[in-house]
Amino acid sequence: MNKTTVPSSFWMRYRGLILQALLLTALWLILSGRLVPIFFLWGFLSIALVMWLSHKLHGIPLAENEPCGATRINIPRLSVYLLWLVGEIVKSGVYVAYVVLHPKMPIQPMIVRFTSKQPNVLARVILGNSITLTPGTLTLDIDGSRFTVHALTRYTEEGLVSGDMEARVARLYMQECNAADMCCDIELITSGRGRRGRRGK
């Protein structure tokens, strides 16, 4: 495992564990809903048990060549991003419902491959899930930083490779980035016989 720069302050160092404990406490309070002392005791015991079990997980890296806990996500930006994602879920549902209900079914499926310059593996995971939730695109595979995406129509593919969403995800981790050069090495597969289009940027 690579040795990462250990953040100096207590908060930055144990932020993951503290946040997880807070999350589990909230989960227990929502689930239990009984404000009786004995259930506080049980809750404390079970949260301690789960924290002890999952604390062993923190040493395992998320992916190969990827140190664990190397970068910190920006929480205020994450909440803004989640709000934006809710809007995208609604849009994508309406769009695919329109495609399904349209009598002619205007689809032209294709597979898009591209390389995205995301800073770390968590950003790639967030990007992959967001691609699945945004209109007409579905993540098929992530291999390193190479994404394989199934797009329903030409229009959705253009929205995908414009790099807007990638820049949004990358901004969760970095200060600023340019949407134009997030997404490179784009490869379109539009037919079963190896006819491919290639667009470089």
Binding site: L31, L62, I142
Partner: protein, 161 residues
């Protein structure tokens, strides 16, 4: 289109697939993030068997689901950290022992099998309602441990490790 020639010729034996960790980072990260929450939900279901549907068996199944999710994501090798294979059968024996032992304890104290009122020799300061509560909780601890560890042990045994 041939999606990915190297991957298609990868070892295709089912057991090899189940033994290796998940390659896709999405599934890996999602399973690792969700598994602790599932474990907590399992413990909640087990503790609240009195008030809502649930209890020993259901809680045990959910706990086993959480551990199996980690087994699926990390592969059997790394997830030995969470619950090693050697401990599963022993824990299930201990669980059965707790369950049967609570019953036998009441028999020893002079009552019928699982007659919780006779547990007052163990905890003389408790009222009968609480005695019942703790007795059932003790039995459920045994059931939960047995169910959870047996399910995990079955999975490990199927993989042959």
């Amino acid at each position: 289109m041939t999606p990915n020639p190297e991957k298609e010729t990868a070892p295709s034996c089912v057991e090899e697939g189940m033994k290796s960790p998940t390659e896709s980072p999405i599934i890996h990260v999602a399973c690792r993030g969700i598994a602790p929450c599932i474990l907590l939900i399992g413990i909640y279901v087990f503790f609240h068997g009195h008030y809502s549907p649930g209890g020993g068996f259901q809680g045990g199944v959910l706990l086993a689901a959480g551990i199996l999710l980690l087994r699926l994501a990390l592969g059997p090798g790394l997830s030995q950290n969470i619950m090693p294979t050697w401990i599963t059968l022993r824990l299930s024996a201990v669980g059965a022992l707790i369950f049967a032992g609570t019953g036998l304890l009441t028999v020893i104290f002079g009552g019928k099998y699982l007659d919780y009122h006779y547990l007052h020799l163990l905890w003389p300061w408790l009222e009968p309602a609480w005695l019942r509560y703790y007795g059932i909780l003790l039995v459920e601890v045994g059931v939960t441990m047995t169910v959870m560890t047996t399910l995990v042990a079955i999975y490990d045994d199927l993989l042959g490790c």
